[in-house]
């Protein structure tokens, strides 16, 4: 799902992780599952590639990890947003929205350029 050759930008994965964690702390499996279902299984390729992204985000200080117990009482590593991560999410989400809106507007327009007329 998040492989380098899947055509997805690294930033997209990070934005989706930030979105997931904005609901609250969650482990890697939960994050992957939520993103898959939330994107209507469109991004369903190679769940393993989520983990390097998580580690890199932890390194950048956007999220922190802590071991805890999962819903079925197993030890699991939970990630949570830091203050910096929250800030990143706000900026990146609005950036993404502006970008996609602009791209959408461009590809949906019916106004042909002057040289095409």
């Amino acid at each position: 799902m998040f492989a380098k050759d899947s055509g997805l930008l690294q930033g997209t994965v990070e934005l989706l992780v930030l979105k997931t964690l904005s609901w609250g702390p969650m482990h890697g499996y939960g994050i992957a599952s939520w993103i898959e279902s939330a994107t209507g299984d469109v991004l369903r390729v190679e769940e393993g590639s989520l983990y390097p992204a998580l580690y890199r985000m932890a390194r950048k200080g956007w999220i922190t990890a802590e071991w805890g117990l999962s819903e079925n009482n197993r030890r699991a590593k939970y990630y949570r947003l830091t203050a910096e991560g929250r800030k990143q999410f706000r900026e990146q989400a609005s950036g993404w929205q502006r970008l996609t809106a602009a791209v959408n507007q461009a590809i949906a327009t019916r106004n042909a350029p002057s040289w095409a007329r």
Binding site: A3, H27, G28, Y29, A32, S33, R44, E46, E47, G48, S49, Y51, P52, Y55, R56, A58, R59, G61, T64, S70, R74, R75, A76, K77, T82
Partner: protein, 884 residues
Amino acid sequence: MGEHRDRDYRVIPPKPRAEVDDELHFHLERRIQQNIANGMSPDEARRAAYERFGDVNDVRDECEQILVEERRAETRRNWFEDLSQDLRFAVRSAVRAPLFSLLAIATLALGVGANAAVFGVVKSVLLNPLPYPNAGRLIRIYTPFRNGNEPHGSLSAGTVSDVRERQHSFSSLGAFRGPRDVVYSGEVPQVLKATWAEPAFFRTLGVSLARGGGFRDEDGLHDTTTVVILSDGAWQRLFGGDPKVIGRVIRLNGLPRTVVGVLPRGFVAPEGAPDFYLPLGMPLFMHDPITVRGSHGFGFVGRLKPGVSQASAQHELATIGDQLERLYPKDNLGIGLAGVPLRDAMVGDTRTPLLILLASAALVLLIMCANLAGALLSRTISRRREFAVRVALGAGRSRLVRQLLTESVLLAVLGGVVGLVLAELGLGLLRGLALTALPSYANLSLDALAIAVMMLLSLIAGVAFGVGPALSVGRADPQQTLREQTRGTSESRRTRRARGVLVAGQIALCVSLLAAAGLLARSLWAMTTAPAGFTADGLLTFTVHLPSPRWTTEDQQSEFYDQFLAKLRALPGVTDAAVASALPMHVDNSNGLFIRTAPWAPNQPVPFILTNVVSEDYFHTLGVPLIEGRTFTTADRPTTGTVMVINKAMADRYWPNGGAVGAQVHIGPPNPTAPWITIVGIVGDVRNDPTSLRADPMMFLPTRQDMSGNQFIVRTARDPLAVAPAVHRLLKELDPTLPITDVATMTSVIGDRYAARRLPVVLMGGFGALALLLASVGVYAMFANMAASREHEFGVRAALGSTRANIAALVLRQGGFWMAIGLGVGAVGVIAAARSLRTQLFGVPEFDPLAIGASVLVLVLCAGVALLGPVRRASRVDPITVLR
């Protein structure tokens, strides 16, 4: 990355590999369960989960790598965070106890400063390489007297050429002569120094000229070769560093000389600091059969052949010396040959005083350490409660120890920096003081090595004395400490003893140092106050440089003396005037003595006797009494019989049964054809060697028969320097081209003779004062702390009926006890100090009771004064405030 991480209870995290594995394993397990729940068979569910995950190994490796980097970065971050936290805390706690901090920094600064200054001196004299390439292979050759009188005898021309022919140890040898005064005719005539050197001299030292071709090998062989090499200093001073100086003609002693070379900056002569080098050719000295072996005065340096050891060269020289003594017994009897490493020859007599200074600086350092240890101990004890609270609140012990170490290092660095500033100031002072007392190549400065050594020293001191208290904090039980502190018990027996030992140690070190300084000072005092044998007060001395073109022949010079001395005597305020070849206490010319009626046996070495050539008014002007016979008169002329006056020491040694007056002698290189000299009088002794209280035998010849004086001595009724302008005017009237130099009072001339002796006394005195100060501060600080920490106890005692006197006595007794122990141990130190100073003491016994008694007294007084404060404080404790 938690903002609320407690670093003191950091949980040790699992290894990165295991952590990643756990996490990935959890993911796969959950996916498999999910798949099974979705209706797959276990095998199928497993395969699907792995497929959906991708390459587990790749993911694991990537994650592990990121995690490892992250952990590393975190360790670094924590270390710096802890350090900056510790530093901030250290600065705060240093500021909170300003007295303690100032004391610690000042103590360190003084100790480090004193040591850095002395180290700077010792390093530049004893450790820095000599300014010659491969200087360790250079040997200075001397002809020591076998009776030990003159270890640094110079060579005769014959010995120089014999050594050159017989030796096999040296690849190159160079002789030199001088430095001597020469008159340089610039705009105004100046008296400068010149050394005559063989062309091989520069080759041997391995010095190549900065400019010009230098001497050619044949330059020394002819009297008519008139060339000169300039020192860098002379080049700068006289020619402003003019690059076109080569080929210019200058006049020395009235003769023209062509400049053929300039020595490089930093070149230092093996002896003296000449401005000019003139070519020297040994063959010229080989013609006169009397002076060839009888007249000494050549310095000789050699460079060892590769592979030849110093020891074997020294052995060879000794063998040649034995051969020459057998071959030429008349001249060489009692004289050997010896090679000394050039460095030792140049360091000369300063080695022992320098090592003594180094030792005293080390003692100051030890006192400093004791002081510092005491201060840190007190500070730690007074902070025990703070530490206990922090431990109780969960601070790790290692963290506390680290904190204390940071504080000590901070103080050490500050103290070290201030100390280096002090050292630089001290060296500035020393440069002025030591100029004449240290070898000329020594440039007193702190280089990178000295600075590094001193910073290391203060760091070691800081850390070493920070560790002790820090560890004791680590061991202490916080609960007990807190309980004790609220109950207010006295300090423990152990810390009290530790303080006492530190006080005793300081006292012991201090008394040794003070005794050493006292002994040296007493010795200098004995030297300078011992009767010199003449009245130095009221005498003015100066040098007029003869001969000159106008006063060349002996008759002309004699005429000059008569005219000038007569005019001098006529000056208002002048009562007497005389001329001599050397000033009293400065006679350095010796001649062999041969008594007509008692010739020396073949196995008896010829004695060398100090010789001065003086005018007939010399003894009267100085106030030297006549004991027997007569002194010189104007009737003693070149045409009349040659006469001599001797001093009492000489009469007593060679004519113990009387009969000296009227005896006939030959002096100098034995010349059988010369007329006998008749002794006409005996005068009182004048000390010549300032370090010896006994006068040496001395002979005097009249200037009217041996034209060689240029040292003038004028007795004045009042201030000697007041007549100096009149003297200048007189000479100008007589002959404006004659240079006059070294105008000074006799007392200051004699003072210069003690310069080398004064340096160690001043420095030791300084160290003694420093030690006294440090020890007093140490005693005060330690007992003040002791009294403060026992305040509660004293309060209880006072409440139970102890009088103030009782309590004061308690503190005094304790202070006195440790001081007594310190003095007891110090006795051993005093003995050691006196023993090591033995060779440096003159005119005082090794265990001079006055010096040692005075140093003990001064120390006890200072320590007593330092004790007063704590005693007062202890006796004023108010039981009500303390117990409430």
